[in-house]
């Protein structure tokens, strides 16, 4: 899939994310907007996974550790054909399988997540199984930056390096914000690159909202043989909507009618510009 097509998909995904959150009356708006380009590239360009091969033991795996940004994942999986876009109208509704965090009840989702600090250990175990079985699949996991305060992520990192899991790709959605405010003010994370390098990862930086840059970064995996891969994806929380960008208050705020209309207008404009560029 070419870059322009993927860029247009990102715009469409952002619309869907806002529509389903607006319709549901709840959701993690800004975090979904920050990571959706990463999911776009993973599912449409990088990973060997589809509704047709989802039970194949050789498929690539994606585990979303920052489970609260599930609206981005539901949106991308619908577009991949795991279920219809219309099904997402039930998001967060009574007895809907589309709950506010990833669940295996939804076709296409690998693990139930939502409590932070769990995805990396799950991914390490899954990657280790590939090594044991001599399978070539890769395991991708997306962590929030605020999530890195959970010590379990660092326990898992030690194991990833110890078992030389170069089939593991850890992506940090480094938008620098968590629900309370700046990560560096809540409980400082930096120097993240040094920390991850010291824990045994091969680390790459990427603009996590730039499709071309993401394609390039994922294309270099494995970065270093026998080392787990870590991508520090520098993103903007609320990306794509001017008044949502880089503000903590949009962590799980639902847009008003006026805000929603303005956001869709901005996305329509972005779509027009992209098409004109093509």
């Amino acid at each position: 899939m070419d870059v322009q097509t993927l860029q247009l998909k990102s715009v469409a995904y952002r619309k869907t994310i806002l529509e389903i959150i607006k319709q549901s009356g709840a959701g993690h708006t800004a975090g979904s907007l920050s990571c959706v380009d990463i999911l776009n590239v993973l599912y449409n360009h990088v990973m060997n996974v589809s509704p047709e091969n989802f039970t194949d033991p050789n498929r690539d795996r994606y585990i979303q550790s920052k489970g609260h940004s599930v609206e981005a994942l539901y949106t991308v999986l619908a577009d991949k054909g795991f279920y219809s876009r219309e099904a997402l109208a039930t998001l967060n509704k009574y007895q809907s399988k589309f709950i506010g965090h990833p669940t295996r009840k939804v076709y296409g989702i690998e693990q139930n997540t939502g409590a932070l600090g769990h995805g990396l250990s799950l991914a390490v175990g899954t990657a280790l199984a590939a090594k044991k079985d001599g399978r070539s699949y890769r395991v991708y996991t997306l962590l929030g930056d605020g999530e890195l305060a959970e010590g379990s992520s660092w326990e898992a990192s030690m194991t990833a390096a110890h078992y030389q899991l170069d089939n593991l790709v850890v992506i940090i959605d480094r938008n620098t914000l968590q629900i309370t405010g700046r990560t560096e003010e809540v409980n400082g994370l930096e120097p993240l690159e040094d920390k991850f390098t010291a824990f045994g990862y091969a680390v790459r930086h990427v603009d996590g909202n730039d499709i071309t840059a993401l394609i390039d970064a994922f294309g270099q995996v494995p970065f270093v043989p026998n080392k787990p891969n870590l991508i520090l994806a520098h993103t903007v929380k609320g990306k794509g909507i001017s008044f949502m960008e880089d503000t903590a208050k949009w962590h799980h705020r639902v847009p008003s009618d006026e805000e929603f209309a303005k956001a869709i207008e901005e996305l329509n404009l972005a779509e027009v510009k992209l098409k004109a560029a093509v």
Binding site: P57, R104, E110, Q111, N112, T113, G114, A115, G117, H118, L120, S121, L122, A123, V124, G125, T126, A127, L128, A129, A130, K132, D133, G151, S152, E155, A156, M158, T159, Y163
Partner: protein, 318 residues
């Protein structure tokens, strides 16, 4: 009656697992620097590719095990019960039970196996904690026979399971041809006056108490409730219908464990039978050997016999 001392249940667990794993490379053991206390050193030496060490990190132990299980591995996650079911409770709840990754979570040196080491090393909460978690079964074998049967059953069990083993040698209670089924209590002794419903390493003292009581004309039924989930509700109801009093015995807090599970069945079933929960009371637990702690809290032939006699007097004040 003389009971014959067998091996520690966790020794039998490790030996059975090694035997099975030698024929099935898909069986993996994951340890948190716990292969020594889990008697898994021979396993690691014989099948080094089937033992995964994650160091002293119980949360990671369970999460990694869940990931391995999701890729089709038959995983036994082995760690002292005291750490495994507290520190990694969220991983057991979410990554194993909720995500339905059928890990066999194995708590070793359980209960007050590490009696002298203090409350940090006691697991007197694990039944209570895990009974409330949906989609994980709980097995607490009493002797070497039950241990081996539980491991064999766990191998083909489709759901997550918690297995709990102690580190002291235990008495053999069963003959090798005893029927064993997950969720089905084993009747070790028939009697009409009192039923002892016991789990794990408290079954032997219950058997010895029954023997002692027989000497004074009190006949006791003894049930080994080796599975706490799914629970053999019918065995409890039957005991209420057919015997005059029920005493539950467990190496666990009296809160939230076997005893309260039975109490719930009896109350909601409308059974009015003299009833006593014997276990570790809600207090700063006394320290010492497992046997000393059992004696201190009346989990002994003498203590349980006295409890039974007192309970029958309550029922028959004449």
């Amino acid at each position: 009656m003389e009971l014959v001392l067998g091996k520690p249940n966790q020794d039998v667990f490790a030996a059975t697992l090694l035997e099975l794993a030698q024929h099935d490379p898909n069986i993996l053991v994951v340890t948190s620097d716990s292969r020594g206390s889990g008697k898994l050193v021979p396993f690691g030496q014989t099948l080094p590719d089937q033992l995964i060490e994650v160091g002293i990190a119980e949360q990671n132990l369970v999460g990694v095990s869940a990931g391995l299980a999701s890729a089709g591995k038959k995983v036994f996650a082995v760690s002292p019960a005291c750490f495994l079911t507290t520190r990694a409770l969220e991983q057991i709840k979410n990554d194993v039970a909720y995500s339905n990754n059928p890990v066999r979570v194995v708590g070793i040196s359980a209960g007050v196996s590490y009696g002298a080491l203090g409350s940090t090393h006691h697991s007197l909460h694990d039944f209570a904690a895990l009974r409330t978690v949906n989609n994980i079964d709980i097995m607490v074998p009493a002797d070497n026979f039950e241990t081996r049967q539980a491991v064999l059953a766990a191998m083909h069990h489709p759901r997550p399971m918690y297995l709990r083993f102690g580190k002291r040698a235990v008495y053999d209670l069963h003959t090798p041809d005893t029927p064993f089924e997950i969720g089905k209590a084993i009747k070790l002794r028939e009697g009409g006056d009192v039923t002892f419903i016991a789990s794990g390493e408290t079954v032997a003292p219950a058997v010895l108490a029954a023997e002692r009581l027989a000497g004074v004309g009190i006949s006791c039924r003894v049930l080994s409730m080796h599975t706490l989930k799914p629970f053999d509700t019918e065995a409890v109801k039957q005991a209420a219908r057919e015997t005059h009093a029920i005493i539950t015995v467990e190496e666990h807090s009296i809160c939230g464990g076997l005893g309260e599970a039975c109490a719930s069945i009896l109350m909601q079933g409308g059974y009015h039978v003299p009833f006593n929960i014997v276990g570790i009371p809600d207090e700063d637990t006394v320290t010492g050997s497992q046997a000393e702690i059992f004696n201190h809290y009346g989990i002994s032939a003498e203590g349980l016999a006295a409890t039974a006699q007192a309970l029958l007097q309550v029922e028959q004040p004449s």
